[in-house]
Symmetry: C2
Subunit: 305 residues, 2 copies
DNA sequence: CCCTTGCCATAGGTGATCCCTAGGGATCCC
DNA sequence: GGGATCCCTAGGGATCACCTATGGCAAGGG
């Protein structure tokens, strides 16, 4: 079996026309280099040097082999350098999950933050257009993600809360926005709610359901839609009201439902934004970077914990 | 230290998304592949796979690393193939020494012979335009050579005679060609002789001197020139006579001295053509090929031994 | 011509590495 | 929950890489 070490020894020997000087250059004893070269000759089935009195003389086989050997070592060097530049975040791809409302907080600005600090990297925000962040997390295809969680524990997952996001009542009807909304009024309202694919993780509805239950009501939604934006748009058209994260409301209302407004719930209800990754995993520098930047952004928008 | 073995294991694992299947493909036990991959990760300082329950998942670092790893292995493969094709004489350079008059017998035709049998090889006939074949042989820069030798033993050299070449007297004066030339007449003649740089090996003059000494004469040459061709040309112009190998005379006279002819010496004197290489060396296939073909050619021209 | 010097090969020993088998823990599917 | 799958760890044997010490051979200088 060919080895890079053999090639290194071969090239040093070829250049110096001497095993002794090659060994000096490489920092080995002379017999070690001799052994490597002999092993290479054996595995190639060709004599590379004629041992002649003082010094060694490359054969034509060695002449032919040398450029190939150099190419192999150059390629190996390249490979190592490529990885080194990943390690120092000079290049490579950073993939990070942002699911549910979290994705509203980590848009183009977050990507821009990363690119500003590390111009060479590619960034993928998984979850922006795909619904399977938790699945990817669980299966290990994604290293870490930021999501809104209801329960602060989930099997095999390490969940680090970083901010809380109040849930608010959103309506296009100003008369409904005069006072905080109680559980009673909430239960009576016509609501449009986004349906999140993964119940275990997305928390808005779980938290809300708990609040209603505690007050003796059952949640009833009139409309189910895929994502928050659609819900907000429907509110803007006056077709229903909704409950959503305050951060999302602040961000989406001006754009999607300028005529709508919001009031807090009574009692106040909070959603928790958290960093989630597999328990026990040590995170890569890339993941740590994304977590740090995403956390900064989120905590700038909503209430830090 | 990076190793090709690690890269092989990495790629198999990457493709199968499984250490077990990679091990199967490579014919190892699973822990062995696992160890190689772990070693690679350690030496690169980067995690390449996330171990997640069943199976392993490549990280983005692995995605980046993979094409580089493939290039390294491809280059290594190339290198091995290049050598294999040398070994089977499909390609590579064959370098062979032909010194003194021997070079007259191994010209374009010999090269053509080799190229016909092995279209991919390069051929170098050292000595055609350089005078240091014996030096190169002694220093090991040349593996083998065909030369005309006087003594059949030389320190550290293995000398295999393959043919004998009669020395003949060459003149443009027909009156001198009526009978074999004796030592007496030789000693009286105006001779032009090629001066070979290496006396130990080139034999024509040594043999000749011995013949004269035995008859009680001293050799005296009127003109010394560098090579045989020049000597023959001078004979053609009638400026002197010469003594040279019969093979050389047959080959050169029609071209360089059409008006000249030759007669044998009396007693007859022979030069010996031989294959020379370092004693105790095992010859490469390329060298053996050259020896075989050169021998065939020579024995077709002059008298085999 | 011998003697020194330079260089490669061999010998023998030590620690690391390669690769195995056996068994434990996690996950997935039924 | 139980079986199957797949990874990891542990531990042991063979091999390999590297060392120092030494011998042989060629080159070069008194």
């Amino acid at each position: 079996m060919l080895s890079l070490h053999q090639l290194t020894c071969f090239l040093a020997t070829y250049e110096h026309r001497s095993l002794t000087r090659a060994a000096e250059e490489l920092g080995y004893a002379q017999p070690s280099v001799s052994e490597q070269v002999r092993g290479l000759e054996r595995s190639l089935g060709v004599q590379l040097f004629r041992r002649v009195g003082r010094g060694v003389v490359p054969t034509t086989a060695a002449d032919t082999f040398r450029p190939h050997a150099e190419r192999v070592l150059a390629a190996a060097d390249d490979a190592e350098r490529a990885v080194a530049s990943i390690r120092s975040l000079e290049t490579g791809t950073i993939r990070f999950g942002m699911f549910g409302v979290a994705r509203l907080y980590g848009g183009a600005d977050l990507v821009a933050d990363v690119l500003a600090r590390y111009p060479g990297v590619r960034v993928e925000l998984v979850g922006r257009h795909s619904m399977d962040v938790p699945e990817n997390l669980r299966r290990g295809r994604l290293e870490a993600a930021m999501i809104a969680v209801a329960a602060l524990s989930s099997e095999g997952m390490s969940i680090t809360p970083i901010a809380r996001d109040e849930l608010v009542y959103v309506s296009a009807d100003p008369s409904k926005l005069t006072a905080p909304v109680t559980a009673k009024r909430l239960a009576e309202a016509d609501l449009v709610m986004p349906e999140s694919t993964l119940r275990d993780f997305d928390s808005g509805r779980i938290v809300l359901r708990r609040m209603l239950h505690e007050a003796g009501y059952n949640p009833s939604t009139r409309i189910e839609v895929e994502d928050v934006e659609t819900a907000i748009e429907l509110v803007g058209r006056g077709l229903a009201d909704t409950v959503t994260n305050k951060g999302a409301a602040l961000q989406l209302l001006p754009r999607l439902a300028p005529n709508a407004g919001w009031v807090p719930l009574r009692p106040r209800v909070y959603d928790t934004m958290a960093i989630v990754h597999r328990a026990g995993a040590t995170l890569s520098p890339a993941a740590r970077l994304m977590i740090e930047l995403a956390t900064q952004r989120i905590q700038g928008i909503i209430e830090p914990l």
